[in-house]
């Protein structure tokens, strides 16, 4: 103790330590930052440049500057607008279903019962699986002749049964069935995520709110609308935003299950981007421009997401 309180010595030591702290700090954060810049930021600038050119990765010709031509082409392309619309439908449908289902599940699980921990963990398993694995085994489940979905729904004759991923029912085309099938899988996989977030929100509601409500003889209906829902709302919002970001990015599941088909019924924008960039003519410039448009949409949603996350962190 005496050493520390002795002024000259402590001062000198503190200074030296301060210096080495600074050095250590730089040593600790710069490798991370450099890697992120090299592998994430630099490529983004590179593709920004490419988006103003007509470059093709397989043509062997240097990029030619064509200014905003890619962007105006994309924005005037009716088909791409349709893919954006499909992505929007997909995101809206799957995120709203996940929110409703996840919320209801959380309300069900809220009260503990014997073995509820085990059951809750089991419900969470789909979320941790690889989208490829999930896509593949749902493809098997959806098969019109030997899949379990039709079997469990009681369709015994394959020719009268829905052909989920083929968007047909008893041979008749049903537009939207394939997209719905993919939505179902996404909901199956990610409702537990919403549930987990809501559950943590529910557990954080202080008991005295309910006690006060009980003293005031508020019905459980009123308690739900006035206490439970407003208290969980921020977490529900976060879950929704996160899922929206993921839905706009959605690639793996669709790629494995339908590859965008039948026709282009499940052609989500990310899948189309992959096709433009890495298949056929490798339209690298145009794909980069499209990537930037998607990026702007995602950044807008991400900003909201991170803002709310920070708010919650601030409280907690």
């Amino acid at each position: 103790m005496a050493q520390v309180t002795a002024p000259p010595r402590a001062g000198g030591q503190a200074q030296r330590r301060h210096l080495s702290d600074r050095a250590l700090m730089h040593l600790f954060i710069w490798p991370t930052l450099i890697l992120l810049i090299a592998v994430n930021v630099f490529p983004l600038f590179y593709s920004l440049y490419l988006s103003f050119t007509n470059y093709s990765a397989i043509a062997g010709k240097p990029p030619v500057w064509i200014a905003f031509k890619n962007f105006s082409n994309i924005l005037n392309d009716e088909q791409l607008w349709q893919y954006f619309a499909t992505t929007g439908r997909y995101a809206l449908l799957s995120v709203s279903l996940q929110t409703v289902l996840g919320f209801s599940l959380a309300m069900l699980i809220r009260q503990k019962f014997r073995g509820s921990g085990l059951v809750t963990t089991l419900i969470l398993v789909p979320m941790m699986l690889s989208p490829v694995v999930v896509g593949l085994f749902w493809k098997l489940m959806y098969d019109p002749s030997f899949g379990f979905v039709n079997f469990l729904l009681g369709f015994s004759n394959p020719s009268l049964a829905p052909e989920w991923l083929g968007s047909r029912w008893a041979g008749e085309p049903v537009p939207g069935l394939a997209l719905l099938s993919v939505v179902i899988v996404d909901v199956w996989m990610w409702s537990p995520f919403v549930m987990l977030l809501v559950l943590s929100g529910l557990n954080a509601i202080p008991d005295y709110l309910y006690e006060a409500a009980a003293i005031d003889r508020a019905s459980s209906w009123v308690q739900f609308w006035r206490i439970t829902l407003p208290q969980v709302a921020p977490l529900l919002l976060i879950a929704g935003l996160f899922r929206t970001i993921e839905a706009v990015k959605s690639f793996d599941l669709v790629m494995v299950m339908t590859g965008g088909g039948p026709g282009d019924q499940t052609e989500l924008i990310a899948v189309n981007l992959y096709r433009q960039a890495f298949q056929g003519q490798f339209q690298t410039g145009r794909a980069s421009a499209l990537a930037y448009i998607i990026l702007i949409i995602i950044i807008a949603v991400s900003n909201l997401y991170i803002k709310y996350l920070n708010q919650i962190r601030g409280e907690g």
């Binding site: 490419l50 599940l105 690889s130 996350l309």
Partner: protein
């Protein structure tokens, strides 16, 4: 089980919970609720179970309509997945059958023999799995080590623009894989990193880095600074304090982060599909392309996915306490 009971502050036993336990109506509701939850869990797990049993079916049973629930289990799917086979000639077949009777051949050979085939070597998939192991393993180590250093720095030092930097780090994670891949593909081609192990390790390291920084920072924030300060007063250098005081206390956090990173890298599909073709291709894109080749070997695919499923299920159980933290980048802790 304990994990979910420990969520949130322990509540004192108030009047209402007592009433819940005694009141028959409340008990009935409780029972209905529990039954519903169990039913939901069972429905949710049906696809997983289907995949599990498909892995042990022979080809004819897989495509039987209506699907068979009872069947003779076999390891055929695993044999198809892991080996290359060729039709054996009559003479060779007899020779092999004799060997099988005397018990000189292994289990896989005997199964292949049942359909008149001879194993000629390991399949492509074995190499893909090895790639997956190498790439996921090394990238996880790299991102956890780098993440740990930065997380410590962000947690303990005054860094100019700290929040902006953290925001920047997190935002890199939000980028869609397809968007980053186009320029990366060109860069990698230029640098000769396309389809190399090093290229993929580098990519996955960075991909997981933002996550590991955020998650680990949350864990390190919870370790009281007083321990280190005491150590510094006692003459430890900053590095020693980090190494000897903080590290041992952050072990749980490090373990959880490691496992999360491992799962992400192990499951990753989009980058691997676009940036590898042969040499460094990992298992997920190659399972998916098995569908394309001739007759669909569902049992082999099921066997392959089972290999992905089992570790993940085990890990989910082991990590259930940290799942919430993991999926929200450490922002929500309870």
């Amino acid at each position: 089980m304990a994990a979910f009971e420990e969520i949130g502050p322990r509540v004192p036993v108030v009047e209402s919970t007592r009433v819940d336990k005694v009141n028959p109506r409340a008990r009935l509701f409780g029972a209905i609720r529990a039954t519903l939850v169990v039913i939901v869990a069972i429905v949710a797990l049906i696809p997983v179970l289907v995949m599990g049993i498909t892995a042990f079916k022979i080809r004819a049973d897989v495509v039987a309509s209506p699907p068979k629930i009872l069947f003779d289990p076999t390891l055929e799917g695993f044999v198809y997945l892991l080996t290359e086979r060729a039709l054996a000639s009559q003479a060779r077949l007899q020779e092999l059958q004799q060997q099988a009777q005397t018990g000189e051949v292994g289990l896989f050979e005997r199964i292949a023999l049942q359909s008149g085939q001879e194993i000629t070597g390991p399949s492509d998939y074995v190499f893909r799995l090895r790639n997956s192991l190498i790439i996921a393993g090394l990238s996880t180590i790299a991102s956890v080590v780098l993440g740990l250093f930065s997380a410590y720095a962000f947690s303990r030092f005054n860094i100019a623009g700290k929040n902006d930097l953290l925001f920047f780090i997190l935002s890199t994670r939000m980028l869609p894989a397809v968007v980053v891949t186009i320029p990366l593909f060109l860069m990698y081609r230029q640098l000769g990193l396309h389809d190399t192990h090093f290229g993929m390790i580098l990519l996955y390291t960075v991909f997981n880095l933002s996550f590991s920084v955020w998650l680990l920072k949350g864990f390190i924030d919870e370790i009281p600074r007083e321990y280190e300060e005491a150590a510094l007063v006692d003459g430890y250098t900053r590095w020693q304090a980090f190494y000897k005081i903080v590290l041992p206390q952050a072990v749980t956090g490090i373990a959880a982060t490691t496992v999360f990173c491992l799962i992400f890298a192990w499951n990753e599909y989009a980058f691997a599909l676009m940036l590898t073709s042969e040499e460094a291709r990992t298992a997920p894109p190659s399972i998916a392309t098995m569908l394309g080749r001739g007759g669909i070997e569902w049992s082999a695919i099921a066997a392959g996915t089972l290999g992905f499923l089992i570790p993940v299920v085990i890990i989910t159980f082991a990590l259930r306490r940290y799942l919430l933290r993991g999926i929200t980048f450490g922002a929500i802790r309870r």
